[in-house]
Amino acid sequence: MTVNRQTIEELAELAKISISETTIDGVSGHLDDMLQLLGQLQTINTEGIQPMAHPLETQQLLRSDIVAEPNNREALLATAPLTAEGLFLVPKVID
């Protein structure tokens, strides 16, 4: 698989990052190298092997259904650039 210019542009848009015209070729070259390295895994026979969801050989612990978080609104709102009447403000989004 090779990463072309169009793929880079689409991925950048999905990830909401901007990649300048001058660096786009360099980025695609880096990604190509990485994919080739990872591509070596494709040569391994994985017949009958369960896909791994996590490298740790253990299982998830579950939490009891208890309300344990107090209202911490003012402190959390203080981390946002814009707030009003207890709400976070963002530039108007229309779907």
Partner: protein, 486 residues
Amino acid sequence: MEWEIVVGLEVHLQLATKSKLFSGASTTFGAVPNTQACAIDLAMPGTLPTPNEAAFRLAVLFGLAVNAKINQHSVFERKNYFYPDLPKGYQLTQLEHPIIGAGIIDITLPDGTSKPIRLHHAHLEEDAGKSLHETSFTASGREMSAIDLNRAGTPLLEIVSEPDMRSAAEAVAYLKKIHILAKYLGISDGDMSQGSLRCDANISVRIKGEQQLGTRTEIKNINSFRFVAKAINVEARRQIDLLEDGGTLVQETRLYDADKNETRSMRTKEVANDYRYFPCPDLLPVELSDEYIAARQRELPELPDARRTRFESSYQLSTKDATQLTGERTTAEYFESVAKQTGEPKLAANWITGELAALQNRAEVSVPQVTVEQLTGLILRVKDGTISGKIAKQLLAQMMDGNDDVDTLIAAQGLKQVSDSDAIEKLVDEVIAANSTQVENYLRADEAKRAKMAGFFVGQVIKASRGQGNPKIIGQMLKQKLNARL
């Protein structure tokens, strides 16, 4: 040309947990904005999610109730997209390994027949926050949207059906079945007005007899039973009209506008949605033991279908009554208590599905406001002849607003039914004397007609007794007195 509508539904059910799917913040509906959103819900750096055991318990109960495969190994994945009410930039959901696999949901159609709808799977995921677009907030001259993250992280069970429904009526029956099941199991309050139950409908049409599915559209976020039916019908009509005019359908997401009763395309993005799912590295696979599943099996209550069948056979109720009584778990349990305490299941069913249901509708409540003891007492006093059915209806209405038992109400209002034959005889004589024309007509009529005409005299005597005369005794005495004149 005959067209066939094909519908599949994705139902989002908010699970009735106290805390969120991955944090200890409260899930109570209607709290002051952002007072129930903690650092984990806000995706603050350094926080780690921990799954809520209760969400798994409720999901497994649902799976067992619809005979679905329970996947003891399930994995949370990240579904990546950007929207301001999703602070992490991804939604935690299940894709390759959902908690619930394939199952069957039997639906009951309005004509009483039933149909199996295949469940594709059901998975756990977190809800997003709420965006308020209609605000007057501005910053640097720009209009702003406001975000309330109280709902962010609330556990959802997304229940995905196969495209097995063939009409709006079937889709509504399916949704109602999930609603009833959710409430029976206690896994969700199912309150559609509060968004506890929402659905997306996948709709396509094809010529009847065709095997291939047509191009589908998805209608997002429908939040009432009525709108589901309307949205499906109006969208199917649009598709049929387009195809009959030689047009081509586009697979897309559409919105249903209830005010205009139409669907319209949501603005398509330049780059197609690509959620780039991958297993969440912050979470390990969840493994549920055999013992855990077996314990949930023991917690399963009697389900609506089983209960309806039992009510029909044990209490000799009609399918209609049994269906109405088992629609809500509280009503079913209420009926059963009254039936047992009175020893009169048929009467109990009549009162609960008739007069009490009418009073509840008027008061806009769904659960009985009259206690089991109050209704039991009322039924027993009608049965032993202390009060007439008519008086009993008046007392039932009074019981809706008060806690007095039937004997207290009868004593306070002097409503004891008059069965004393001397008192009734006096009233019967008065009525006969006051209605000589009707008496003449009665005596001249043939026997079949007389039986009908007798009702008039009974009514007059009951009226004269201010509703307290025993209709049975009045009827007997009238017949005797009138027939003596023949």
